[in-house]
Symmetry: C2
Subunit: 412 residues, 2 copies
């Protein structure tokens, strides 16, 4: 990737709020202080109208683009789509990404110190919802002096946050791009969440969430949870293409229980790697937030959730081989958005990559996102940041398949 | 279910062989003695031509029909399809079902005593294959004095055994009914197997397979493995129908990590129940046998596997919502069988029940299996057992949806 296609070195920043008044949660509980880790790329224009919020998925972080200062290998999770001339063009837009509350990448979560005890919260951390994550993001947007976001975009759990913004805070956002997501977590999604949680509970090292002061962490359980997740991010077809029945480093069956198939090796490697970067309790809290997500409530009608959003523009994207967030969820969403009289563009992208497609189908995504944002810029008359010169769009980007694959493995 | 629709009380029998000469396995290892648990229903006719072998799935047993002597609740796993006047009509056929080698329902497996040590085999038990399971079944068929089976039938892993019989022992069988299965375990199937195994390995109580003499067994790990399995046996649609987002015994979210959704409760209950009836090491061995299954080898061409099977009749059945063993696997099988010049009937049954459909779509299955077997009886001129009187077929059977559901939960 050439230098000018990246935002370059970035630093993760943080905002702490609710130091005096606690932050009230959907459950009725409250918590404070709350810290959010965030990064920004590009510059705000004069009327602060060019801000785009990117929302991350289950295991993502605020580090969406560029590379962490001093470590060129720590590339952002959506580097393919955020940068100068890319889909989220940092020459034109001020792009923000923050780590969700409950996570473990700098935002307050179960691994954070509870000021009332001086020890990590563990399971004393209150259960948070997608709504709470978004409410915390509003604190950040306020802090940055942004009245209205030009766009909120994200895939998977990121897409749920996008929909929450659009449904519950329509006055703070012009447009929304929910990708490979749902307005209502399905029983199959809940089932996979619960299996992951049960794998963590089953690990004696989890110790009811009290492991932060111990040497042994529930890595074994967390690795199993992640392995289940990895299967669901792929499709049957992409697994056939990627692994088939290939053996790993052997010519024939070993007739033993060592790792033999390439797909086993992939799962084990990624399950193990995940334990080095993620907190098991955060996995519990974030999956729970996803399970609770259901915009059709309390009325039972999804369209009612978007009753106040008719001035918004939506770009809804799903992928044909995504069986975790199947296209029909997006189609139901589009029906509801249409019934609510919003401006909706919908694309069911033909892809073999399953749920991971939202990170892998870079060229298609770049074209889709790019044209939608071009239209927004025209229709909302968005000015460039002072002194900015938009270069020729590099819409057909960047990155080898191996690079894409690595991104998806790390950051879905 | 009325009395005359069941074979009534049955006793599981057992055959022990390889007491002098060890039983040679595909891996090159050998083992002996070997015991197979089996049951039979109905009677052999004079020329021993009316025998049907039923092959069970991953966690099944020899107890396929009737109820265990003294316990009317211990109903066979395919009671809906085996009995007087049912699809596998015990007034006409001599039906056999045996527990596979490697399992834990009376056949020799890792929990059996190794005669060389006087202790349970544990991981010293050799890795077995679908081919080894079928070779052991041949010992049983020989013992019962049956030269040629009229039919071999089974779903899921049972279907793999069916295909193994048809491909590698075509002289011992007239017809084959592989249901909801594949001739080549896919990388996605291997991935789900491996996650289940990793959940067991991750349980410290597993102790590298050495737990038989301990108080604590790897129940937690085995339960997680089973929960993953249960998700894959259902479809997204059947989960929506069966559970939706219904809460279990509560009106609103509890904002805690207790079981809240009905689907969570279902998984936990079934995961736990499974640990009371199944051995964790058997789970490892049987999933490994499935992963190794690939009839396309060694030539790479599936049709070549059936080169000697052109005289066989096949009834291949798949289900539209089965994403674990998707219909296209059955279609590839049908292409290969057609290329090998066999007599094939294929049906892709429209069903919302996912992989479990082979146990739940009783009426459709009864009609399909019944007509195929009727045709076999006519074409192969199969005589009734002495004194037998075939009653009017009860093709549209028996059992409430709740009953079906219970069967599937217990016995898939």
């Amino acid at each position: 990737m050439s230098d000018n296609a990246t935002v370059g070195p970035v630093q993760t920043q943080s905002l702490t709020f609710a130091e005096d008044e606690p932050f009230c949660l959907e459950s009725g509980a409250s918590i404070g202080p709350v810290t959010l880790a965030y990064e920004t790329y590009g510059r705000l224009n004069a009327d602060r109208s060019n801000a785009i919020l990117i929302c991350h998925a289950l295991s993502g972080s605020a580090h969406a683009a560029g590379y962490l200062d001093g470590d060129p290998d720590k590339v952002g999770w959506w580097e393919d789509c955020i940068g100068p001339g890319k889909a989220f063009d940092t020459d034109r837009f001020f792009v923000i990404c923050s780590n969700v509350i409950g996570s473990c990448y700098g935002s307050t979560g179960p691994a954070s110190i509870d000021p009332t005890t001086g020890k990590a919260y563990g399971l004393r951390f209150p259960v948070v919802t997608i709504g709470d994550m978004v409410k915390a993001q509003i604190e950040l947007i306020d802090h940055l002096g942004i009245d209205k976001l030009l766009c909120v975009a994200g895939g998977s759990m990121g897409g749920m946050q996008v929909l929450e913004w659009a449904a519950r805070h329509p006055d703070r956002v012009c447009s929304a791009i929910p990708i490979a997501t749902t307005a209502q977590h399905s029983p199959m999604l809940i089932a996979f969440s619960e299996v992951g949680r049960q794998a963590i509970y089953a690990d004696p090292a989890w110790n009811h969430g009290e492991y932060y002061e111990r040497l042994q962490k529930p890595d074994a359980g967390l690795a199993v949870a992640r392995m289940v997740g990895h299967i669901t991010y792929l499709s049957e077809e992409s697994m056939q293409l990627k692994f088939g029945r290939r053996l790993q480093g052997m010519e024939k069956y070993g007739f033993e229980f060592d790792t033999e198939f390439a797909v086993e090796s992939y799962l084990k490697y990624n399950g193990h790697k995940f334990t080095q970067r993620f907190d098991a309790n955060s996995y519990l809290y974030i999956t729970k937030a996803m399970d609770y997500f259901d915009l059709s409530q309390p009325t039972g009608a999804l369209a009612a959730a978007f009753a106040g959003s008719s001035h918004l523009k939506f770009l809804v994207i799903s992928f044909t081989s995504d069986w975790l967030y199947p296209s029909y969820h997006s189609k139901q969403l589009v029906s509801a958005l249409t019934a609510a009289d919003t401006d909706v563009t919908y694309l069911d992208v033909k892809s073999t990559w399953g749920h991971d497609a939202f990170l892998l189908e870079v060229e298609t995504m770049t074209n889709l996102l790019g044209s939608f944002l071009d239209r927004l810029v025209r229709e909302e008359r968005i000015a460039l940041p002072a002194g900015s010169k938009v270069r020729a769009a590099k819409r057909a980007t960047a990155g080898s398949p191996a690079h894409h694959s690595r991104l998806a493995e790390n950051l879905a």
